[in-house]
Symmetry: C2
Subunit: 195 residues, 2 copies
């Protein structure tokens, strides 16, 4: 009986090496400066294998961020229900993920690192324009390039204030109170009259 000791293309450590190469490249060269080809080369595999494991460059980026949930999947039902009330639904969905005690520590660590020097470009060039921007854009009547960043500004501020800084009483405010108080802001940025 022979047991192969070589690594097969589908072996788990190959996948991990591709992911590590992707994280390094996204961190050093940003989203736009990263190519599947360069990641494949750094990991010593064929680009086709990278696509096989991770799908598109966007998918690989989401995987490299190591977010415990894929925001595109989480946001899909919010968007599917249309623009009416989307501000409150978006917020309720966001809070349900961030308030989850199993997810929160990892998300807070991620938020901290994304504000640091090295990773701000991942938010600027990748996370917002590539991952969440296109999803939210389908909710807005016009000028997504203005509306989506305004939505991002309130959501990021809420995350920093409630979860990273943990400012009382926002940190402990019942999520439905947050939805009722901040939801109208998101709704106005999404669909309201904006100068």
């Amino acid at each position: 009986m022979t047991v192969s000791r070589g690594r097969r293309p589908g072996a788990p450590d190959t996948r991990a090496e591709v992911l590590a190469a992707a994280r390094t490249s996204f961190a050093e060269k940003g989203f736009r400066g990263t190519t599947i080809r360069a990641i494949a080369s750094a990991a010593g595999v064929d680009p086709a294998l990278v696509h096989h494991y991770f799908g598109t460059k966007d998918d690989l980026f989401v995987a490299a961020l190591q977010i415990p949930v894929d925001p595109r999947e989480v946001l899909a039902p919010v968007v599917a229900a249309g623009p009416d009330g989307a501000g409150e639904r978006l917020l309720r969905t966001l809070l349900s993920v961030w308030d989850d005690p199993e997810l929160q520590p990892g998300l807070v660590a991620l938020a901290r690192s994304l504000v640091s020097d090295d990773s701000a470009s991942l938010v600027r060039d990748g996370f917002i324009p590539v991952v969440v921007g296109p999803v939210l854009a389908s909710l807005v009547p016009d000028r997504p390039e203005v509306r989506v960043p305004l939505v991002a500004s309130q959501i990021i501020g809420l995350i920093v204030t409630r979860y990273v800084v943990a400012l009382p009483p926002l940190a402990l405010m019942p999520s439905e109170d947050v939805v009722a108080r901040v939801g109208p802001t998101l709704q106005r940025y999404l669909t309201g009259d904006l100068p």
Copy 2:
């Protein structure tokens, strides 16, 4: 002629030592865990000298943050003009400080450090409740403990998005456009009907 080589109480390096001791204490023990007496002891001076140099504990905290401007002074005219239009005035004032090319690098570095693990308590226990909270509270008709953190959430989010992450087009949006688009959010948090 004799020249004193000893340090006099008013010597610049004594002031710097007090400030260094204050920064260490605020960072390690937070705002509430820090006393003037402990700072004086760490710097090897009399507590009265700390008060002489820096005024109250609040004043010393602002000095220790090394913010290029004192937010209480900057916000005074915003507050003096009353609640009507305060959202837009607050934002215009904030943007004029943050858009200043001489101030911006230091402010961005400060914002980054305040989101880090070690310094979040300075925002939570000191900066918002002690420095800006009381100023803003004079603008609101009721429940400052709810309204001020909501204002903070949008302002912090705008700062992170426009200056730290530098998300386009928010990073380059003319300040009057930001004022017109985000001002109503702050006005509603300050004086609007909130559930």
